[in-house]
Amino acid sequence: MSERQLTYREAVAEAMAEEMRRDKTIFLMGEDVGIHGGAFGASKGLYDEFGPERVWSTPISESIIVGAGLGAALTGMRPIVEIMYADFTAMAMDSIVNQAAKVKYMYGGRATVPLTIRAPEGAGRGNAAQHSQSLETWFNFIPGLLIVMPATPYDAKGLLKSAIRSDNTVLVLENKLLYGDKGIVPDEDYVVPIGQGIIRKPGRDVTLVATSRMCNLAASAIEKLSAEGIDVEFIDPRTIKPLDMEMIAASVKKTHRAVVVNEGHRTGGFTSELAARIMDDCFEYLDAPILRVAAEDVPIPYNRMLEFEVIPAEKDILQAVRELMR
């Protein structure tokens, strides 16, 4: 296996390029994805290689970006559609929630929707309330949608390939602050299966489940906790739906304690679901309540200092784990 390093955004572009070479029915559609290379550079090089017949730059029209993706998916194509910021999925909610998610069920199984919807999430760049959200919990609520959240360049390439190859509507929620992260990305065809979590670090004392960019905070917190003699088992679920409860439950049954971390808001956020699922499967095994580390229930502030107070920080993870271990 090669030791080549790519950035997260390069890994995303490589996944799309490799898949588009492999299968002519795969195409990319979204705002500024063509010659501009995508607002975050995640489709750099694709227009040069594949041209306007496979890489379509649209007007600003999220509802039809997804809706037309659905129409193409129903008629023999395998679209990747990009929504520039996850916040703008709000403009496309009917297409995602009422159409793509439900078509197969409503048509008695006689439809297949091989649609991939990519969108970057996340705060920490001073992009304020309408450009900084983490919205996986919205889509987790809707039967018919699958959701992946790669936290590393390796997973970004592997999960996106799985999403593209899936015959389901898969949301690939990237994180804008992860785009510049570097990591080992094999220069070969590989996939990360949908629904498979990963134990980033095995441990005995407490299970820490973190998603997307929160994994970077968790990794740093764990080093400090190790020095304090707290042995954390750190799980990155990688897929939100279907959630790898087998891995998470096995871990909590071993450690008897759990902290769940997600950048979405606390109320109704993904930590609520994680906590409920852990309770469902591991109640008898818990020695302490499940602690949730999530964003405050306020819109993400523009002011940098306030922004970092609202979203989870490393100190919040440290505080939660230490509290559990007292």
Partner: protein, 225 residues
């Protein structure tokens, strides 16, 4: 509400007003990429013309010159809202120019007129010139739902349109031209009625689905969500 048959190219009726337009535009995009001689046809009513989806669909189809026939069935009412109360500028067909496509109005209750207008529209779209809006003016004789008291329109208005019933008019023309006799018209009506009755009986007599069907077809393939 969502009857579909993808094998026949029917991508489905849609429970969301205007829901079909983006799908139709996507199908047209697919046609363009697959390089077939198909066209994409989407039917929608006056209610849909106010939805954002309709604007986005016509705009994208217009700008990319996609092979879409926008079949606008203007039956004058969306539940209780008339097209006068909902279409700013007074005409959806006139808006077509704003989307870079022809907008043609035809008497939707005249079978022949619609046939020839549709021929022209289809030819245009299939030739690769882009999209086309065909507005068929008609009227919703029944209420929006059973029990609709229809307080929003006058008896006179309704009766004037009932007199222009499309099937009745078509029969009259065909009898006048000697294409069909009165007896043949009645026979066709009876046969169609029987077919519909049979279908209804079949549906009513069919068993309920098993409980296991509840969880089927949410996803494609094995997904333990």
């Amino acid at each position: 509400m969502h009857i579909a048959n993808l094998d026949l190219g029917n991508l489905g009726a849609n429970g969301i007003v205007s829901g079909g337009l983006p799908i139709a535009v996507g199908a047209a995009l697919s046609i363009k990429m697959r390089k077939t001689r198909q066209i994409s046809v989407v039917a929608f009513g006056d209610g849909a013309t106010s939805e954002g989806n309709t604007h986005e669909s016509m705009n994208l189809a217009g700008v990319w010159k996609l092979p879409v026939l926008f079949l606008f069935e203007n039956n004058c009412y969306a539940v209780s809202t008339s097209c006068e109360a909902s279409i700013a500028g007074g005409s959806e067909a006139r808006r077509a120019a704003g989307y870079g496509m022809p907008g043609v109005v035809v008497d939707g209750n005249d079978l022949e007129a619609v046939h020839y207008a549709a021929e022209e529209a289809i030819e245009y779209v299939r030739s690769g010139k882009g999209s086309y809006l065909l507005e068929c003016q008609t009227y919703r004789i029944e209420g929006h739902y059973y029990g609709d008291a229809m307080v929003y329109r006058s008896k006179e208005e309704l009766e004037a349109w009932v007199a222009r019933d499309p099937i009745g008019q078509a029969e009259k023309v065909m009898i006048e031209r000697g294409v069909l006799s009165e007896a043949q018209c009645r026979k066709i009506q009876a046969e169609v009625q029987a077919e519909v009755d049979q279908a209804v009986e079949y549906a009513i007599a069919s068993p309920e689905p098993p409980l296991s069907a509840l969880f089927e077809d949410v996803y494609t393939g094995e997904v333990k969500a």
